[in-house]
């Protein structure tokens, strides 16, 4: 279907012939890419406008960047208000009072680095390097540097601290690595400079949005509104979501699934597709392994049973399976909800099997297999060779969880909390926390997380602002640069481009530069880089360009080819066609998972709490609680300080269906308690039919930068933090945690309780 997009208007782009930096009306304009912090997991092309004092005064999307095509969301449109915010951390600080008093003394970078190195080395001498933990939050532009820092110091304990079950993308990545030995992404034509118009591209006939609201979340490195681009060009939409998102309202089919039951839905759809002979026989025979075993497993999930489990009407499950299987090509665009169930691994496994049996892997408009973008390393790990086997074997969680043992080189956050609190299997004494605010954001059971961090003798926190985490635990705070304050490289799956420093705030430094300084003090041999730029040169090597050349070059789009499995692009060792798995095929029956002692096939397991697992709780806690849906204005716990963004969503909100609200005497705007046996928090009631009567949805990541920082208030971090109702309880693989399928009750906050 033809759709005339607004930007296809022929206007003489004044940008076209410009270099990466130019002067315009008394301002300097710098073209580059972007990567949090602050922000998200996208890599939008931006134009940063600075005045004669190098102050960032305006941010626009770069119309020449094919990723966002000039578009930008409100968080980057308000970027100058984050960068120039009066509350930014400008200098390294050391704690001047007791922990929690929020009293600080400014120190120099030299003193900060020396203090940290001396303390870390002392702990290493007394307890071993493993007693120092290196913790990040979500994947801000931090993973490669912090991993190198940890491993070059000799600590195997690099962890996403607080993120129970590593329940964010890691389950999906790990299952894909186990069964496909590569990572797929939805193909919205992002590899083509001319995007949807390219002859090689096909617009998907069907897009399945599974457990995500991309318009607000922009998750996994994909520009959320690409889905709207596809809708305009005729893609039919299936949305699998317990909430009525805007996309769900516009969808051809909306499957209002009970949270956490997605594996049953996937198996039910597989069963229908096989029973009705709608699968891609050629692809299955040539490229996949374990079809018969999959078919047998799926046969255990007839549609009546799946409907009873998922609460989705039978006919909708059948229609969705048919629409997906009969559309060529068809894409599954999955998201965070897939990871946020205790047994999340079989969900991903099942959805992967759907992409496989329908032959939608690595075809135009399907699910494209990603490669190292333009040869630029980094996001996928850096410095792994620096740790010896003996130390690596001490990684927390390795003994208990097979996919932590064999999968990615991260420690288990669940076991780490336990290890800190019990000193078993060995004492943990210090933590380096960079780009992480665990007690306010994704940390499960934040009071237990708080207790664990309070026990440590030395804590360093690196961030843009003071947060509940800096105030409660930090002995040293280091000021991180926002992306306009540093150079860097954004290598999102589809392209590479430089990020260019345009301004300086106080003495902030980029996250990579901070790791370089501390790394050099701890292990100079492992950090031979004399400047931050040498890091970028090193990471960019595979592209054939230096950092400076990449800067001049501008956006470098990865030259993708489709059907890499047929071209011998996936098997590094023998260059033969096929996948880089033990069988050389996509393993719907996973030999690796079998080896790990896990079920080699997708299966369904009930969430740990809910009407089936814990019927005895449902009398007192009759509602299903789901959390973490995104707002345009915020990236996780960021952006609460920025007035324009905050104005769009001033307070944490819990969405309650009108009938449920009425039954509890709750009116729109009332403060309500959300409570279950683990704890409670309070949020403002949003009375809305976006949720069904049996479900409430609560915001995550809330703290109040405008409130008292010092203990015990800590910016009100425990006032509205819904994770007080979510335990650490990850799946048998070591991944997944039920952030989106708890139970609760809601009731009005009484006068005097505020």
């Amino acid at each position: 279907m033809e759709y005339e997009d607004a930007f296809e208007e022929e206007l003489p782009w004044i940008y076209e012939k410009k270099p990466w930096r130019w002067e315009e009306d008394g301002l300097t304009v710098t073209r580059g890419s972007s990567f949090t912090g602050p922000g998200c997991h996208n890599g939008c092309g931006v134009l940063l406008y600075t005045d004669k004092d190098n102050k960032l005064v305006k941010v626009e999307g770069d119309p020449l960047n094919n990723y966002n095509e000039g578009r930008l969301c409100i968080r980057c449109l308000a970027l100058k208000d984050v960068v120039n915010h009066p509350d930014r951390l400008h200098y390294p600080l050391k704690r001047a009072g007791a922990r929690g008093e929020n009293k600080w003394e400014r120190i120099s970078w030299d003193e900060a680095v020396e203090t940290i190195a001396a303390k870390f080395n002392k702990i290493k001498a007394e307890h071993g390097a493993e007693a120092v933990v290196f913790a990040q939050g979500t994947g801000r532009d931090i993973a490669p540097y912090i991993m190198r820092l940890a491993f070059s110091f000799g600590s195997p304990n690099y962890v996403c601290y607080g993120l129970a079950g590593n329940a964010c993308m890691i389950p999906r990545l790990s299952v894909q690595m186990a069964t496909l030995a590569c990572i797929t992404m939805p193909d919205y034509s992002q590899y083509f400079p001319d995007r949807y118009d390219d002859e090689e591209y096909s617009v998907p006939e069907c897009v399945v949005i599974w457990g995500t609201n991309p318009l607000a979340s922009n998750s996994d490195g994909n520009f959320g509104h690409w889905t709207v681009d596809a809708m305009k060009r005729g893609s039919r939409l299936v949305v699998i979501d317990p909430r009525l998102t805007w996309l769900a309202a516009k969808a051809d089919l909306w499957l209002q699934v009970r949270p956490g039951t997605d594996a049953a839905l996937a198996l039910g759809m597989i069963n229908i597709i096989i029973q009705e002979n709608l699968f891609d026989r050629e692809f299955v025979e040539l490229w996949s392994y374990g079809f018969d075993a999959l078919a047998e497993r799926a046969a255990e999930y007839p549609v009546e049973k799946v409907s009873a489990i998922t609460w989705v009407p039978q006919e909708k499950i059948v229609q969705a399976a048919r629409l997906y299987a009969q559309s060529k090509p068809a894409m599954i665009h999955w998201g965070l909800a897939v990871d946020m169930t205790k047994e999340s691994v079989p969900i991903t496994h099942g959805i992967n099997a759907l992409m496989t049996i329908t032959g939608n892997l690595d075809v135009p408009g399907g699910n494209v297999i990603t490669e190292l973008p333009c040869g630029v390393a980094g996001y996928y790990g850096w410095g792994f060779d620096l740790i010896n086997r003996e130390q690596f074997e001490k990684r927390i969680g390795m003994g208990k969880y097979p996919m932590i043992r064999y999968g990615i080189p991260l420690a288990s956050p669940d076991e780490m909390v336990e290890a800190i609190l019990t000193d078993k299997p060995y004492p943990i004494r210090a933590m380096w926390i960079q780009a992480n605010n665990p007690i306010a954001c994704m940390g499960a059971d934040p009071k237990r997380t708080y207790e664990s961090l309070s026990k440590l003798e030395f804590v360093v926190v690196v961030d843009l602002f003071h947060t509940p985490t800096t105030v409660a635990f930090a002995d040293i705070v280091l000021p991180a640069a926002a992306f306009p304050e540093r150079n860097g490289i954004r290598a999102v799956f589809y392209y590479a481009q430089s990020m260019n420093q345009v301004t300086q705030i106080g003495e902030t430094k980029g996250d990579a530069e901070i790791c370089r300084l501390v790394g050099k003090a701890l292990n100079p041999d492992a950090w031979p880089f004399e400047s931050e730029e040498e890091i970028w040169d090193s990471l960019a090597q595979g592209s054939g360009l230096t950092f400076k050349e990449l800067q001049e070059h501008g956006q470098m789009i990865h030259p993708n080819i489709y059907r890499k499995y047929a071209e011998g692009r996936l098997r590094m060792e023998d260059d033969q066609p096929g996948f880089n798995t033990p069988t050389g095929r996509v393993e719907m029956y996973s030999t690796r998972m079998e080896e790990f002692g896990l079920d080699p096939l997708p299966y369904y397991e009930e969430p740990p709490t809910g009407p089936v697992s814990t019927p005895e709780l449902m009398g007192e806690y009759p509602l299903i609680l789901t959390t973490g849906g995104r707002e345009q204005a915020f990236f996780h716990s960021e952006h609460r300080q920025v007035a324009s963004l905050r104005a769009t969503h001033p307070l944490p909100e819990v969405q309650i269906h009108p009938e449920t609200a009425k039954g509890h005497g709750i009116e729109a705007g009332d403060w309500v308690w959300i409570e279950n046996p683990l704890g409670r928090c309070r949020q403002k009631a949003s009375v809305t039919n976006v949720v069904p009567p049996w479900l409430v949805h609560a915001d995550h990541g809330w703290w109040f930068p405008e409130e008292e920082a010092a203990e015990p208030h800590l910016f009100g971090v425990f006032t509205s933090n819904v994770n007080q109702l979510i335990p650490y309880n990850c799946g048998r693989s070591g991944f997944g945690n039920s952030y989106k399928s708890a139970v609760c009750r809601v009731y009005k906050v009484k006068e005097g309780e505020m």
């Binding site: 004044i14 409100i74 449109l77 959320g224 769900a248 516009k250 104005a647």
Partner: protein, 110 residues
């Protein structure tokens, strides 16, 4: 001389507020003020499995159609930044012609 306007395909407006924020930034308006503001309607269930869930932008008195930007060869900032790419800028007569036969479009003149 023909006058210009903005044609909006509001069926695909997702309420992302990029127009509002881009305009506010371009002109440095006070917090909350902008040449384009978006209203939400719904979601309402209006039939079996049929929902109305609408965002409709409106052009305010503050809109100048970004005459300075346009002169220098750029698009009005709301047009460029609209994430759903639903705003078209051009001569009113032409935009009116484009509207014919389409549903859920609205044309703003300034």
């Amino acid at each position: 001389m023909s006058r210009n306007g903005l044609l909006i395909d509001y069926h695909y407006c997702t309420g992302c507020l990029s127009c509002d924020f881009a305009c506010n930034q371009e002109f440095g308006f006070p917090l909350g003020q902008s040449g384009m503001k978006v209203a939400q309607h719904g979601p309402w269930l209006i039939g079996e499995d049929k929902w109305e869930y609408l965002f409709v932008p409106a052009v305010t008195e503050l809109c100048t159609l970004c005459s300075k930007r346009v002169k220098s060869g750029k698009l009005p900032t709301c047009v460029q930044h609209c994430q759903a790419a639903v705003i078209t800028y051009g001569p009113l007569e032409e935009l009116a012609k484009r509207m014919v036969g389409k549903t859920k479009h609205v044309l703003f003149s300034r």
